[in-house]
């Protein structure tokens, strides 16, 4: 497409790009059957909110990028465009896997020729963008390297519309409004990197005063210049707009581009990124935080909600029975019928639903054409179109019931279930027959439980599964099932978080401790060759920038640990056997005389600390020393020097006792020193003992 003629910047057509796909699987199995951006949020498709937001911002032309279920999106957009005064183009590309791909596609198609607004198809916001746009343009005029302005909303770290597990940390310069560093924040900080914010010290050279912000909602509304898609093309490995693009631009010395921010505080902005956010945003809409985007402003053509006391929104055609109770924060769509004694609170119910008698619905999102028969209980779940709950069904919290699922009578669906009526190995193949799972949906039900692994093929996502869990609907921190080990882990997490000082000092050493121990355990268990173990240890040493001394300190006790002082010969655990097998490992860590001396000290200390009982310690120490001497790992001089040094005579009682054990050997060595002639016989004698 030829680039359009340049017009005066004041009269330029304001363009926006909507990424309708979210490139993740958080709403599966529901999103297996429809596009993410078409999910109804308070009975209005998500993308309508985004369109509305852009229309208010004065956008005249919109490009919608869609990938999965593009036909549905296209159809919707076509319908929507008629009632809107924006020009909406749909761009379909089946190969898109990420935001990065979409941006590259955008660059390839050359659709954009000015600064544009980049949003995702799940943004709900009532902010105005004119000020941001003005700021951005002014900045661009002064400095061409300012390529992007992010709109960030101020909130508190625990704000409910701040998605758990999708947090982000920004380092900003309030003077120049520049973003200096970006780091995603995970809910569970399993690694050291996650627990710390780390940035380049060089930032301080240019920006001596910075601000760290952990209270911003990043709803990914960006004002981008035309360079942004081009940069995505240049850096073909960029996938995510924040983790890759923003981080990449900010850490790159070569590109010399800057990213700015605009902070808004008294408007609403959120993204429906996860089921948990779906819940939060729905409630915000019902509570009118998003005004004017509330149900009674009837965003969709044909809607006719009225707003009643207690934050209840009801279509005119709803049939409420006389005895049903509609508590607060409820939205009920057209032609829905609610029978006697039903109790509704904090929920959204779509069009043409039938809610039976004595049904209790709390905190749930029920979409169109759902039938819920008598005596059902639904808690904190999402039930998609055309689902049927037979009599007496209980849906526990956190469930996603996909399209057309039928749950048989008197079934209890456990918490956090995901049910689908699609056949396994679906993907347009309607040949495959759905095999219903009666254990889940009851004898007369239709559907099966959906497992995460299906269709998810990104192998690089080695994320902590707990981090995925937290973004789930109705997720409750206290419910998190922790195995005993995990609990220990997280306990130590908190502990180490409590002590900055200690962790900073010890951490790399501890890590080496752990690694060495693991390597040795592996070697012992799997019966590796000594050479392989040495290779592994050396790699470890280089990787951790430590020296042989550090390694000795860990390897010697690590080997001795496997000696069982009370084991019988032949069990493979006596000092002699273990040492014959693994002693040369220690030898590989010892090179010159200094090393030998050090090794002797470590040996003494290790025996003393590993075995509390003096006798046991001696039983290990003596053969070990002898073995090392025989194998020339510790040479005569080193042993003598060790014995006579003051360091060996200090220390604990056990250490002293160990030194005494060595006395006969020392005597022998000293003798042999003077009378070298008959030393060989002696040694053989002692060996045979």
């Amino acid at each position: 497409m030829p680039p359009k003629e340049k017009v005066e910047s004041t009269e330029q057509v304001l363009q926006a790009v909507i990424l309708a796909d979210s490139f993740d699987e958080r709403f599966q199995p529901i999103t297996l059957e429809t596009a993410r951006c078409l999910l109804p949020l308070c009975n209005v498709p998500l993308i309508s909110y985004t369109f509305e937001f852009l229309a208010v911002a004065g956008v005249q032309e919109v490009f919608v990028f869609c990938c999965s279920h593009s036909d549905k999106v296209k159809a919707f957009v076509k319908k929507y465009e008629k009632s809107s005064n924006m020009k909406i183009n749909t761009i379909v590309s089946q190969e898109l896997m990420s935001v990065g791909d979409a941006m590259r596609e955008l660059d390839a198609k050359q659709l954009i020729d000015t600064d544009f607004i980049l949003v995702t198809g799940d943004v709900v916001s009532n902010m105005k963008l004119d000020q941001v746009l003005e700021e951005h343009r002014a900045r661009r005029q002064a400095d061409k390297s300012a390529i992007m302005t992010m709109v960030l909303k101020k909130a508190s770290p625990q704000h409910r519309s701040r998605s758990v597990g999708d947090g982000s940390l920004f380092v900003l310069d309030q003077g120049s409004k520049e973003c200096l560093h970006y780091q995603p924040v995970k809910a569970f900080k399993s690694t050291r990197e996650d627990r710390r914010m780390t940035m380049n010290m060089e930032i301080f050279d240019k920006h001596p005063e910075i601000q760290l912000r952990n209270d911003l909602i990043d709803c990914q509304v960006d004002i981008c210049s035309v360079e942004v898609p081009a940069l995505f093309t240049e850096n073909f490995d960029y996938q995510d707009i924040r983790a890759d693009f923003v981080h990449g631009i900010l850490t790159s010395d070569l590109l010399g581009k800057t990213i700015h921010f605009h902070e808004v505080s008294d408007v609403y902005a959120a993204r429906v990124r996860s089921t948990q956010m779906y819940d939060a945003v729905s409630k915000d809409i019902i509570s009118r935080w998003t005004f004017p985007m509330v149900p009674d402003s009837n965003l969709q053509v044909g809607d006719c909600y009225e707003y009643r006391r207690g934050l209840v929104y009801k279509e005119k055609s709803v049939v409420l029975s006389r005895t049903c109770v509609v508590e607060e924060k409820v939205v009920i769509g057209a032609n829905t019928q609610i029978d006697e004694m039903a109790v509704l609170s904090n929920c959204v119910i779509g069009k043409n639903c039938v809610i039976g008698a004595n049904v209790k619905i709390d905190n749930a999102y029920i979409w169109d054409n759902v039938v819920i028969k008598d005596n059902c209980v639904v808690q904190h779940s999402i039930i998609a179109n055309d689902a049927v709950l037979e009599q007496g069904v209980t849906i526990n919290k956190g469930c996603l019931i996909s399209f057309k699922v039928t749950v048989g009578a008197n079934t209890t669906v456990p918490a956090y279930s995901r049910l689908t009526a699609l056949a396994e190995g679906e993907d347009d193949d309607s040949d495959a027959e759905l095999i219903s799972d009666p254990a889940v949906v009851g004898a007369t039900g239709r559907g099966r439980s959906f497992t995460e692994a299906e269709g998810s093929d990104d192998e690089d996502e080695v994320e902590d599964p707990k981090n995925k869990q937290v973004s789930m609907l109705a997720f409750d921190m206290s419910e998190l099932m922790l195995s005993a080990k995990e609990q220990e882990d997280s306990a130590s997490d908190f502990e180490s978080e409590a002590s900055d000082l200690e962790e900073d000092l010890i951490s790399p050493e501890e890590e080496l401790d752990r690694e060495v121990a693991a390597t040795l355990d592996r070697a012992f268990q799997d019966g590796h060759d000594v050479d392989i173990a040495v290779l592994e240890l050396n790699t470890l040493r280089m990787a951790t920038f430590s020296n042989f001394k550090e390694m000795r300190k860990r390897v010697i006790p690590g080997v001795l640990k496997h000696i069982d002082p009370v084991a019988k010969p032949g069990s493979g655990k006596t000092a002699k056997e273990i040492l014959n097998r693994w002693g040369s490992l220690v030898g590989k860590m010892i090179h010159d005389e200094e090393d030998q001396l050090d090794g002797a000290y470590i040996l003494q200390r290790a025996c003393a600390t590993l075995y509390q009982d003096v006798a046991q310690a001696q039983r290990v120490f003596a053969p070990a020393l002898r073995y090392f001497y025989d194998e020339d790992i510790l040479e005569e001089d080193a042993i003598l020097e060790w014995y006579h040094s003051e360091k060996s005579q200090q220390g604990t009682d056990i250490e002293k006792k160990l030194r005494e054990v060595a006395a006969p050997m020392i005597q022998h060595l000293e003798q042999s020193d003077s009378e070298e002639s008959d030393d060989e016989d002696d040694e053989e004698d002692e060996d045979s003992e």
């Binding site: 996650d194 710390r196 010290m201 005063e209 910075i210 912000r213 952990n214 209270d215 002590s499 000082l501």
Partner: protein, 443 residues
């Protein structure tokens, strides 16, 4: 009305150190201790004294090192004319600031202000004190952004200065992060996430400097004592303050270093005034004490940072460059009625002390001249500080120099960016640049 003994709100301690950054100016033998170095012909210490006086504090303890105590004592006894009730304490020369405070711990009865004798500020004291009064923290510390230097003698302190990284919670001005660049990874700046979730908006600055003006709760003196036992040359700035800052978040550290213990001990003796006021209030609902183990640990420490606004002057004369800068600034704002007219040419930004004689064709620009200075003919003094009893012979040129008292600069010498030690004699026709002219045996 019967006379009642007044209980002072704060005690003040002025730390009059040696002034390592001001060598050779602060040399005891030949010149004067740091506290008495003149800034616009007033001893440096008179500025914090005046500041304290206007803050309403009445009891001041001046802690001096033994080496400068004689001259300082003389000044406080005989020369000082203010209203403060001053007592002087002398500590050993090799004493850190925390150690010095630990020595006088028995004399500290109330919350106390610690100020360095080299702090000069136009900040109204009540602004700083009110922050402490209203927020009731453990420590309130003053931070300021140093003014840009306009050149002059740099001294030797320029090489590789250690910068401080100061992190302040933007919402409640709590001091949450403090680190020196020499203790940090030179490549990476790193902060733990848990700190950021507690303090979501944190300003980190590399420009701010510790003003060495603190208000401590009474119990901190016990902690200071403990720290000074554990370390040699323990200092408030290097050890006590960082410990307190970290104790706000690190329970293990707070327990280990005895912070928790010290705080609890004091709390049981006299609960904080605010808690007391709240408990006496009739409108305050009784607080339910949560003593359970699971309750989130609440640090006994709260450190607040007072950042001096940019338009308020604040500076520390702790290096030659800063000393010079302060002199220049205060010369600018002092009224110069006393300047003698006549023979010489004295520029607008200069100040000339009493009984100073200027020879013919002498010009003085942007400089401070002490009392009893004898100046010959055709002398040019630019950007310099000349202390009392200095003799400048004919045709001397000084640019960016500090000449200590009793020095003599013989004719036709030309010095630029030099420091001349006390009583030193600069031979005639000396040409020097960026040098330190002091008696050899001094060092």
């Amino acid at each position: 009305m019967p006379y009642r003994k007044r209980v002072p709100e704060f005690q003040a301690v002025i730390m009059a150190g040696y002034g390592n950054g001001l060598i050779p100016l602060s040399d005891e033998k030949n010149n004067m201790p740091k506290a008495l170095l003149p800034i616009v012909n007033q001893p440096m210490i008179s500025y914090p004294l005046a500041w304290l006086e206007s803050s309403g504090v009445s009891d001041v303890i001046v802690v001096s090192l033994a080496s400068g105590s004689k001259k300082l004592g003389h000044y406080l006894d005989r020369v000082y004319e203010g209203q403060l009730h001053i007592s002087m304490e002398i500590v050993d020369d090799n004493c850190g600031t925390a150690q010095a405070l630990a020595r006088i711990k028995d004399k500290i009865k109330t919350d106390f202000i610690v100020i360095s004798c080299d702090l000069l500020t136009s900040l109204p004291p009540h602004q700083f004190l009110d922050m402490h009064r209203s927020e009731d923290p453990t420590v309130t510390a003053l931070f300021f952004e140093p003014n840009k230097s306009e050149g002059g003698p740099s001294g030797s302190a320029k090489e590789n200065e250690v910068t401080q990284f100061v992190g302040i919670d933007a919402t409640n001005s709590q001091l949450v992060y403090l680190n020196n660049s020499d203790e940090m990874d030179p490549e990476e700046f790193s902060v733990r996430m848990s700190l950021l979730s507690k303090h979501p908006v944190m300003n980190i600055s590399r420009l701010l400097q510790d003003g060495h003006l603190y208000i401590f709760k009474r119990w901190v003196i016990d902690l200071i004592n403990e720290v000074s036992i554990k370390r040699t040359r323990a200092s408030l700035k290097e050890h006590v303050l960082p410990l307190l800052v970290k104790s706000q978040h690190q329970r293990v550290l707070a327990d280990r270093e005895g912070v928790t213990k010290a705080a609890e001990a004091s709390l049981s003796v006299n609960p904080s005034t605010q808690a007391l006021a709240l408990s006496l209030s009739t409108t305050q609902a009784p607080e339910i004490e949560d003593r359970s183990e699971n309750a989130q640990w609440k640090s006994p420490v709260k450190v607040k940072a007072f950042v001096v606004a940019k338009d308020v002057y604040c500076g520390r004369a702790n290096s030659i460059a800063n000393y010079f800068e302060l002199n220049r600034y205060y010369t600018k704002i002092t009224d110069k009625d006393r300047n003698p007219g006549g023979q010489g040419q004295v520029g607008a930004d200069s100040l000339v002390g009493d009984d100073t004689k200027l020879g013919d064709r002498t010009s003085v620009k942007k400089s401070t001249l002490g009392s009893h200075v004898t100046i010959g003919k055709n002398v040019k003094i630019v950007n310099s500080i000349v202390m009392d009893h200095v003799v400048l012979e004919d045709n001397v040129k000084l640019d960016g120099c500090i000449v200590c008292s009793g020095a003599k600069i013989c004719e036709k010498s030309s010095l630029k960016d030099c420091e001349v030690g006390g009583g030193f004699r600069v031979e005639k026709e000396t040409q020097a640049r960026n040098e330190r002219l002091v008696d050899f045996q001094e060092q």
